[in-house]
Each structure stands twice: as structure tokens, then as C-alpha cells.
């Protein structure tokens, strides 16, 4: 319901809000092939071992051509398929700018309100998505792997400033130490966010579940840090502002189109036929067209 923007959905969501806010939201991002899904699977296992219930939102890209998607992250989480303490939901980006669907924001609220202790959000890891995840999550993990060339540029500028924890996965492969060192060098250069959290860089082998218990220790420590530093409140404020702006944009656009003839189809038709340019089209919809 949330994904289609159905009317009842947001009202329903509002009634859940008082029950939300207790879950620890963990974002996991990184380039394709970094092993995020496998990492998520092992983290879920470790959290379950520590008696936590877990929700997972696994996000994959929608095809820009067909609007469809293949959502295959579940395949890597088979061990949890019948565990009633784990809820896995696959979502497609559906062409939202930034990749992290606004509705995944809301999906985490639902899982939070349902009482899951931890909600993991795994994202596609290209473009602006990484920064989006940070706005949403309490603790964001950036995953990289050796052998991506000299390219720590694979880690985009934004994420370096906002990642709370960096993981070098597939650390058994050659070059792992070098990646860790490059990350350390870049973190050293980044301006202190004033948060007083020493950002860890951890080498793991998700496949073999090596280093996962240390990773979950880091998550618990970060959560405690946020609680004591007021970080939880600050993040919640930023999240609310972000949702406000996105929702406002969506609703005003929908209202504007709804208010004109044919729901804006004639304008769109003219645009597609090359009769008008996009700027004129928008002016026309908003009734601000000058001759």
C-alpha cells in the first residue's frame, strides 16, 4: 500500500508512528559485487544469536526501460527464510531519484512499529543512494572489496563523510590491507563531524562469517554512542525533514497535474511531440506560461 501511495496507507502509517522509534536502523551500502547481501545474511545470524528480532529491507534497482525489476537479495538469506524472528522484504527503487525509495523509509517505520529490534536496509550502492541511506539509518556501513583497482573513488565523496563504519569484505583476497589503508588515509583527511566517534575499518570474510561478531559489537557500540551523544535525536530530526520535503514535492506535483486538463496529458503529449520544451511544459501546468 505504501509503495503505491494509496490514500489509506499514509493515514495507517501515522497511527504506527507512536510505536516506532525503538529499532536500531542499520544501513548497508557499497558497490555491486561487494557482497552486501551475504554480509547482511551473516549479520542477521549473529543478531539472532544475540536474541534480537530483525527486519531486512533489500533494495534493488528497477529497470529504467520497463519499470520492472529482479529482486534477488533474498537468495542470499535462505537460512532465515522460515525464522519467525526475521522479516525480509525486497523493494525496487521504482525510478526514485537517489535510488533509495522514499517508501523504504516508510517500510522501515512499519517494521520498527511491528517491534523488530533491528532493521537492516541494504541498498544498491550507486550514485546518490549511499548518502540517502545515511539520512535514514542510525548506523551506516560502507562495504568495499579488494581488487577494485586503485579506485577508492568507487567510494563516492558523500559517503566518506557520512559512513559510520567501513568494512573491507572478501579480506582473504590480495589487496585487502591496501584498501583498508587507503580508507584509513581518507578518513584521516575527512573533517571531524564533531560526533566524537572513531570510525572503525574492519576486515571481514562474510562468506565464512569471519569478523561478523566484531561488526555487530561495533553496531552496538555506535548505538550506545548515539544514545548518549544526542545523535539519535539529531538523526530523527533530519529524517523527518527529509520525508517532509520529499512528500511535499510529490504531493504538490500530483496536485498540479490533477488540476489541469486531462491530468496534464495534453501537455505531456505536446512535450513528447517536440512542440514545446520542458520549461514551457512546466509553466503551462502551473499556469505561468507567458506568450
Amino acid at each position: 500500500m505504501l509503495e503505491e501511495g494509496e490514500d489509506g496507507a499514509l493515514t495507517g502509517l501515522r497511527t504506527l508512528l507512536p510505536d516506532a522509534g525503538r529499532a536500531h536502523l542499520l544501513g548497508i551500502t557499497g558497490p555491486p559485487g561487494a557482497g552486501k547481501s551475504t554480509l547482511v545474511d551473516r549479520v542477521v545470524s549473529e543478531l539472532r544469536r544475540r536474541n534480537k528480532t530483525v527486519g531486512v529491507i533489500a533494495i534493488d534497482p528497477s529497470s529504467p526501460f520497463s519499470g520492472g525489476a529482479i529482486l534477488g537479495d533474498r537468495v542470499r538469506m535462505q537460512t532465515h527464510a522460515t525464522d519467525t524472528g526475521v522479516f525480509i522484504r525486497s523493494m525496487a527503487t521504482r525510478g526514485q531519484l537517489g535510488g533509495l525509495a522514499r517508501t523504504s523509509f516508510e517500510a522501515t517505520t512499519v517494521l520498527d512499529a511491528m517491534g523488530y529490534d533491528v532493521v537492516l536496509i541494504e541498498t544498491v550502492g550507486v550514485g546518490q543512494d549511499e548518502v540517502d541511506v545515511v539520512e535514514l539509518a542510525h548506523t551506516t556501513t560502507v562495504v568495499s572489496i579488494p581488487g577494485m583497482g586503485d579506485d577508492i573513488q568507487a567510494i563516492k565523496a558523500g559517503i566518506l563523510e557520512v559512513g559510520d563504519c567501513f568494512v573491507v569484505n572478501k579480506a582473504d583476497l590480495p589487496g585487502a590491507e591496501r584498501v583498508a589503508m587507503q580508507l584509513a588515509a581518507m578518513l584521516h583527511l575527512r573533517e571531524s563531524s564533531g560526533e566524537n566517534w572513531e570510525t572503525p575499518i574492519l576486515k571481514v570474510e562474510a562468506e565464512k562469517a569471519r569478523g561478523i561478531d566484531q561488526l555487530v559489537d561495533i553496531y552496538e557500540a555506535h548505538r550506545a554512542h548515539l544514545a548518549s551523544s544526542g545523535g539519535l535525536v539529531r538523526k530523527a530530526v533530519r529524517r523527518n525533514e527529509r520525508v517532509f520535503h520529499e512528500l511535499l514535492r510529490e504531493r504538490t506535483a500530483a496536485q498540479a497535474l490533477h488540476a489541469v486538463e486531462g491530468g496534464g496529458e495534453p501537455v505531456l503529449a505536446a512535450l513528447r511531440a517536440g512542440e514545446i520544451d520542458p520549461y514551457t511544459a512546466v509553466d503551462r501546468v502551473l499556469g505561468e506560461e507567458h506568450d
Binding site: 503505491e4 520492472g68 533474498r74 527464510a81 525486497s90
Partner: protein
């Protein structure tokens, strides 16, 4: 308001490890604008049903090429009924003898697509069902 996407769960039950067909179908359904949740190999009826619930699947597609269709699929249908979610569209594809196809359709499978079925036909069938549901 965004458009409602058809969510299709694709699964392979038991020890059947023929993945080519289901992979081709996944791609075809994505190209037809659907969201395909591929659950992979070695699914049990319980896993399929749990996934269908969590993912709010509209359609459940089972790929069966190892001859074990009569062992597994009726169990999936029974579990769906137990969970009261048997209003989902259930389609089966693969290597299924005609008598079994008939038996499965009597038990509750909506349609069996056997060898020679075109991927386009499957997408059309699903979309027609969808439209009939009034969505």
C-alpha cells in the same frame, strides 16, 4: 499516485537445479514491467509461503523440471490455503506431463505452462488475470 506493480515470486522446490528456464522467465517478466522476487533453489513449501507473505506477492511461479512436481506443489497449495492467501495466482512451468498438469490444475494451480510455452504468453496471462482482479 504511483502505479501498482505486479509482484511475482519465482521458486524452485526440492533438489531441482535447472536454473535456465526460471532465469529466462525472470528476465521476461521484468521486461514486462513486473517486480520479480527470485527465491532461488531448494525451496520448501514453507519457505515459499513465508516469502509470499513477507513480499506481498501477487503471483507465485514454480519452476519444475526434475519430475517431482506432484510431491511438492500440492503441499505449497495446502500451505497457501492454511494461511488464507490462496487468492494469489499460482502458475507452474517446466517439464510436466499432461496428466499431472491436469491434476495440478484441479488441485488449485491456475495454469501450467509446459515446454514450448512462450515467455510472452506467460506475461500476458498474468497481466490479464491482474486486470480481471480490477487492479
Amino acid at each position: 499516485m504511483a502505479e501498482r506493480k505486479i509482484r511475482v515470486l519465482l521458486a524452485k522446490l526440492g533438489l531441482d537445479s535447472h536454473t535456465v528456464g526460471v532465469t529466462v522467465i525472470a528476465g521476461a517478466l521484468r521486461d514486462a514491467g513486473m517486480e520479480v522476487i527470485y527465491t532461488g533453489l531448494r525451496q520448501t513449501p514453507d519457505m515459499v509461503v513465508q516469502a509470499a507473505i513477507q513480499e506481498d506477492a501477487d503471483v507465485i511461479g514454480i519452476s519444475s523440471l526434475s519430475g517431482a512436481q506432484m510431491q511438492h506443489i500440492p503441499k505449497v497449495l495446502a500451505r497457501l490455503r492454511e494461511e488464507s492467501i490462496d487468492d494469489k495466482l499460482v502458475v507452474v512451468g517446466g517439464v510436466i506431463p499432461d496428466e499431472d498438469a491436469e491434476a495440478l490444475q484441479i488441485e488449485g494451480v491456475d495454469k501450467v505452462f509446459t515446454m514450448g510455452a512462450r515467455t510472452g504468453d506467460i506475461a500476458v496471462y498474468i497481466r490479464e488475470w491482474w486486470e480481471q482482479q480490477g487492479r
